[in-house]
């Protein structure tokens, strides 16, 4: 049981990293949203497996929240936004896909090196989990940094948050209250960002954030 439980947790966490890579090279918005839904689904599976292994029923609630919000509500809403804004066109990436993927691989290696080095005496399950979670987090940040489109920056932010949840559930005994409050704050952030997307679009006829820079007043 111990070995199998570890392997499956490993598989799911590794899967999350893999889906993060898939996020990196999506160059269409609707495909990006779909992959994000997959990302959240893998996270929910991972959390549920942790609930089973740690015998912690409240983690099932966490997994359910993840499925409800991140697999269903948020992607559906994003699709709606994309349709309303009419931006099915290609995403222009700032750095090319190749260098981005290479940078992503470097980041994964870095997070492995850091976590495995600084936690030699920790529980191996939590250790691997933490390493993958850090990798997901860094890839989320990378996504935010390399994209210009506001929608894909939102997705980068949410995948980063998924990494945080992965790390939190790996550590034994995360209180449900924390999880719920994080989920709600993410939802509120999503709503605020969504509202802003429409406002930006109303003003500037685009959600490309580089167009905003021209309007900052002080300097180009």
């Amino acid at each position: 049981m111990g070995s199998l439980a570890f392997d499956i947790a490993h598989l799911l966490a590794g899967g999350l990293v893999l889906v993060s890579f898939m996020l990196l090279y999506q160059d269409r918005l609707s495909a990006l949203v779909n992959v994000f839904a997959l990302h959240a689904l893998v996270l929910a599976l991972s959390v549920a497996w942790q609930a089973f292994v740690q015998d912690a029923p409240h983690l099932y609630v966490t997994a359910l929240i993840a499925v409800a919000f991140k697999v269903l509500v948020v992607p559906l809403a994003l699709h709606r936004i994309i349709r309303q804004l009419g931006i099915h066109r290609e995403i222009e990436t700032v750095v090319g896909i190749g260098p981005t993927m290479l940078a992503g691989m470097g980041l994964v290696a870095l997070s492995m090196a850091v976590i495995l080095k600084i936690t030699p005496e920790a529980d191996p399950l939590a250790r691997e989990d933490l390493a993958f979670a850090l990798a997901v987090l860094l890839l989320g940040l990378l996504l935010m940094v390399t994209r210009r489109n506001a929608v894909s920056q939102v997705i980068g932010f949410m995948s980063l948050e998924n990494g945080l949840i992965l790390a939190a559930t790996g550590a034994l005994g995360m209180p449900l209250v924390v999880e719920i409050s994080v989920a709600f704050s993410i939802l509120i952030a999503f709503i605020v960002i969504g509202v802003f997307l429409f406002r930006i679009r109303e003003r500037f006829d685009t959600v490309d954030t580089s167009a905003l820079d021209a309007f900052r007043g002080e300097r180009q």
Binding site: V94, L107, L110, S111, A113, V114, K117, I118, L138, L141, L142, M144, V145, R148, T209, S210, L212, D213, R216, E218, R219
Partner: protein
């Protein structure tokens, strides 16, 4: 018990400051503030003397400041000595302020900060943990900064305040880092815990350098002195007396506390650095003093010289301690502390004298003074005492402490380390040069200000200052003489301090006959201030008697002998600049960056001839101006960071995160 009482006095000082704010318009507020300060500082002086002579530590912990840590206070021999120094200086300055402060044009800018400044200095000396120490240090700095800006409408004073604030902040940052290093990773900020711990050699080195920067910038060590000649003269004269006489001593206390007490065993080369900086400070300070034409600026530069002398004493103590010569180290430290006390006495006196001149004539520019000895008979006598004392002439106190210091320097052939063996006599030569220049400097200061003929109508119509100011100056002058003829008592009183810091004292002087002092052994050297004083008095009296007996008895007033040429105008007299010119010609181009230009009209031209002397502080030009330029340049470049796009900011955060993780992966 003693600590509690001193803290109570400090609390009352703070209450006085609050009262000065609350009742700013009250007509008697001036008397109340200075009267209360006088009473409280006298009480602190008495308590500190009791603590110093009776011995024994007294500690107290108050539930103030940081939670769970509290504020710790303690009086040991070192702080008791400096508290006595502060009490005496503060009491005399307050007495002077009672009279002098009446002429203040903006009392609401002085009265609240004056007791606050005194309280800040008291708390620095009482503090027994790093947090309290730094807090009190900042109170002291900021209160004195506010006092420097009393005449804030003068552009030079605003500049002085700005430079002072920048230097004071930099110094405090250095001290903060020093205490942080001493406290270590565990964060034990109490002085008792810091004393227990043994720092690594690297930590000890860094702490020493930071202490030298932090305390040295407050004390005025070259090249950290640039703010001092700007800020000290800008304050009202009794505050200048406090800043020069007492605050620089508090800075020296900070250095001693950090390096000799808390650090334990300083690195061996510490003595070299302190000796060199002290010697350089002494020479450059007094050279700059000699070139000044503003009386208060001259005194401020002379403060730098004296701080250098004290640091030479401390450096000698470090050198002898490193060579295992405990008795010689005790001698050097005693000389340094004695000189610190003496400098407090005569520099306070001289600044008060400069204040009296300023009140009487409205100017401190020496080229507009002269002949004041007829108009200010009492002031001129007490200032003469101060000038003779600071020029280190017997029988006054300046001679006693510098003589002790040279006795310590003469021990240098017995040093083990060759570097020190060569360095100490060299520093001794620098000190001798500084002493000679100091004598020249105060001949100039006194001669140009008080002797000769008045150079302006203001000097012609000067009137003597009030009784209270005169009483304060006369008291200090009497103490200068007393400390000069009774050095043995002071050396004995300093014994607990050297025991606490070095584990050794100088030989007991009390038991020697005729108040003689013998620093090492009778066969080597001894000095008797009382006999020297009696000799000077008797021989002077005999000479006067002989002159009056064998020459005419009548007092005659005639024109001064002007080399056969009597100048028709007062401006044609020997001036301060002409007095300093030989030294400025010799050393000026090398050390002072002075340049003379003579503009001589051709025959037939009607314009006057002009002689211009331009002189700058070399450290300002070579060190501070480029530094300021660099900071401004960097700030200009960093300004771009305010106008980045959101994605750029995100990238910066991301890059910082990745860099930190990389560092963790490589070095953890």
């Amino acid at each position: 018990m003693t600590t509690g009482l001193v803290l109570l006095a400090t609390a009352l000082l703070l209450a006085t400051a609050a009262l000065a704010v609350a009742r700013a318009g009250h007509e008697r507020i001036h008397d109340i503030v200075y009267g209360a300060s006088l009473a409280l500082m006298t009480a602190i002086l008495v308590l500190a003397l009791v603590a110093l002579l009776a011995g024994g530590d007294s500690a107290l912990r108050l539930p103030l400041g940081l939670p769970w840590i509290g504020a710790r206070f303690r009086i040991d021999a070192l702080s008791a000595f400096f508290l006595a120094l502060l009490g005496a200086g503060g009491a005399f300055a307050s007495l002077y302020g009672l009279g002098y402060g009446r002429h203040e044009t903006a009392p609401e800018r002085v009265l609240p900060f004056y007791p606050l400044f005194l309280a800040g200095m008291t708390l620095v000396l009482l503090a027994d943990d790093a947090f309290t120490f730094l807090l009190a240090w900042e109170v002291m700095s900021l209160a004195s900064w506010a006092l420097v800006l009393t005449q804030h409408r003068v552009a030079d004073n605003r500049q002085a305040g700005y430079v002072y604030l920048a230097m004071a902040s930099a110094g405090t940052v250095a001290l903060l880092l020093a205490f942080g290093l001493l406290a270590g990773a565990t964060g034990a900020y109490g002085f008792a815990e810091i004393r227990e711990a043994t720092p690594t050699p690297l930590t000890a080195t860094l702490v020493l350098l930071l202490a030298l920067f932090g305390a040295g910038s407050k004390a005025g060590l070259v090249p950290l002195h640039v703010w001092l000649p700007l800020a000290h003269p800008a304050a009202p004269s009794h505050v200048s007396a406090l800043m020069s006489g007492v605050m620089t001593k508090v800075a020296i206390y900070g250095f001693l506390r950090l390096v000799l007490d808390l650090l334990g065993e300083p690195p061996w080369w510490a003595a070299l650095v302190v000796l060199f900086m002290g010697g350089a400070t002494a020479v450059i300070g007094i050279l700059m003093a000699l070139m000044q034409r503003d009386l208060k600026r001259l005194l401020a530069y002379s403060t730098i010289e004296n701080v250098g002398v004290v640091f030479v004493g401390i450096g000698l103590a470090l050198a002898f301690q490193a060579s295992g010569m405990a008795a010689a180290a005790a001698l050097a430290l005693t000389a340094a502390l004695f000189h610190a006390l003496n400098h407090m006495l005569f520099k306070s006196l001289l600044f008060m004298g400069a204040g009296a001149v300023l009140t009487a004539t409205g100017t401190a520019d020496m080229e507009r003074l002269g002949g004041l000895i007829h108009r200010l008979p009492v002031t001129s006598v007490v200032v003469l005492v101060g000038a003779v004392a600071i020029a280190a002439l017997p029988p006054f106190n300046g001679f006693a402490s510098e003589w002790l210091l040279f006795q310590a320097i003469l021990q240098s052939p017995e040093l083990a380390d060759w570097g020190l063996k060569v360095m100490v006599p060299a520093v001794g030569a620098m000190l001798a040069l500084a002493a000679a220049l100091a004598a020249a400097c105060f001949v100039k200061a006194y001669g140009i200000t008080f002797l000769g003929r008045p150079r302006s109508p203001a000097a012609t119509d000067a009137v003597e200052v009030d009784r209270l100011s005169l009483a304060a100056m006369a008291g200090l002058a009497a103490l200068c003489l007393l400390a000069g003829i009774l050095p043995g008592l002071i050396i004995d009183a300093l014994a607990p301090v050297t025991t606490a810091l070095l584990g050794q004292t100088m030989p007991v002087q009390r038991s020697l006959p005729w108040l003689t002092i013998v620093p090492i052994a009778e066969s080597r050297s001894s000095y008797n201030g009382l006999l020297v004083c009696l000799f000077i008095l008797v021989s002077g009296w005999l000479a006067a008697l002989a002159i009056h007996r064998f020459a005419s008895r009548r007092l005659r007033r005639g024109p001064a002998w002007g080399c056969g040429f009597a100048e028709p105008v007062a401006a044609g007299q020997y001036s301060g600049a002409s007095f300093a010119q030989p030294i400025q010609r010799v050393l000026g181009p090398l050390l002072l960056r002075s340049a003379e230009t003579v503009d001589m009209p051709r025959p037939g031209e009607l314009r006057p001839a002009r002689h211009t002397l331009r002189q700058e502080d070399i450290f300002w030009d070579r060190l501070y101006a480029p530094l300021a330029g660099l900071v401004e340049n960097l700030a200009g470049r960093l300004n771009v960071l305010q106008f980045l796009t959101i994605r750029r900011y995100l990238s910066l955060v991301f890059a910082a995160l990745v860099l930190l993780l990389l560092a963790l992966a490589i070095w953890s």
